[in-house]
Amino acid sequence: MTQETYENVLIEDLDLDGPAAAPRSNGELIFDSPWEGRAFGLALALVENGLFTLEDFQGELITAIAEWEALGKSNEDYRYYECWLVALERLVARSTGVQITDVDQRSKEFLERPAGHDHDHDHDHHHDH
């Protein structure tokens, strides 16, 4: 089923920067938006701090990606870093005291913030929401 979904996608339709695009600098093309970088950094920071291993995280990521693919959605809807975040939330719930319901609750509070709220944390980027 999922194989069918991806069967008809031409690779040239993907976000390909072109085989001729030589790497002229490191770090290009990494994150589509700032939150993806934060999600990436959170996972790596927790690995570096010994909360879990990169292998643990990869196992959880494989599960999250497989679950997404089992939904049979269109390839266009695929968001790698959303799967990344799902995996991270689950591993955080097992490895720290922060539960998925805590993330639910805090997200709800953030969503209820008035527009133009003041940031109470120190980010070096503009939010895309």
């Binding site: 085989p19 490191n26 959170l42």
Partner: protein, 200 residues
């Protein structure tokens, strides 16, 4: 708890990421400076120029090439290229008769210290599903048309083996320096979805 990846009642991912960061920060498990440093390291210091440096050395130093094919992790470590996803690097050489291409069918395993983080197409379900079954078609769509007598092998990267392609040195580069050669090498050639062309 088996929450689905994308149930409709989940807050948007940017909000959830922000919430998660806030909660982890309050627990003292992460801090903004550490995160910024880590992200900046991957944005600025780790990327495909590292891999290109390794390739250029292997093209110009036969003994290095041997060491690289023998033990990829140790040989790239000679340049100081190491870190997360830098273990178990296996280097596979391309030549006129054998073309090798890398995928991670299950997620996105990739030799970060050599190539940085993978581009979108590498993580895409279509690439991951299709390149294994019809590599020639996929490579052709990506602009690489291989002769019929070229043998194509697909390598599935995982946490146990992270594959890195040593492209074939193009003709017309005999007089080039290592630095000039490194400028020719593309990220795509080091994954095996392209070859390195002769300088024009």
């Amino acid at each position: 708890m088996t929450a689905k990846p994308h149930p409709d009642d989940r807050a948007p991912a940017p909000i959830r990421a922000e919430a998660l960061e806030a909660l982890l920060t309050e627990k003292g498990l992460v801090n903004a400076d550490g995160l910024n440093g880590l992200i900046n390291r991957f944005v600025n210091d780790v990327g495909p120029m590292n891999g290109a440096t390794v390739v250029a050395r292997a093209w110009t130093d036969p003994e290095y090439r041997e060491r690289l094919l023998e033990d990829g992790t140790a040989a790239v470590g000679e340049f100081g290229f190491a870190g997360p996803q830098g273990e178990h690097i296996v280097v596979v050489p391309n030549d006129a008769k054998n073309h090798n291409v890398v995928v991670c069918t299950l997620c996105s395993c990739y030799p970060w210290p050599l190539l940085g983080l993978p581009p979108d197409w590498y993580k895409d379900p279509a690439y991951r599903a299709r390149v294994v079954r019809e590599p020639r078609v996929v490579l052709s769509e990506m602009g690489l048309n291989l002769a019929e007598d070229v043998e194509v092998t697909v390598w599935d990267s995982s946490a146990e083996n992270r594959y890195f392609i040593l492209p074939e040195r193009p003709s017309g580069t005999e007089d080039m320096s290592e630095e000039e050669l490194a400028e020719l090498v593309t990220r795509e050639a080091m994954v095996g979805v392209a070859v390195v062309g002769s300088p024009t």
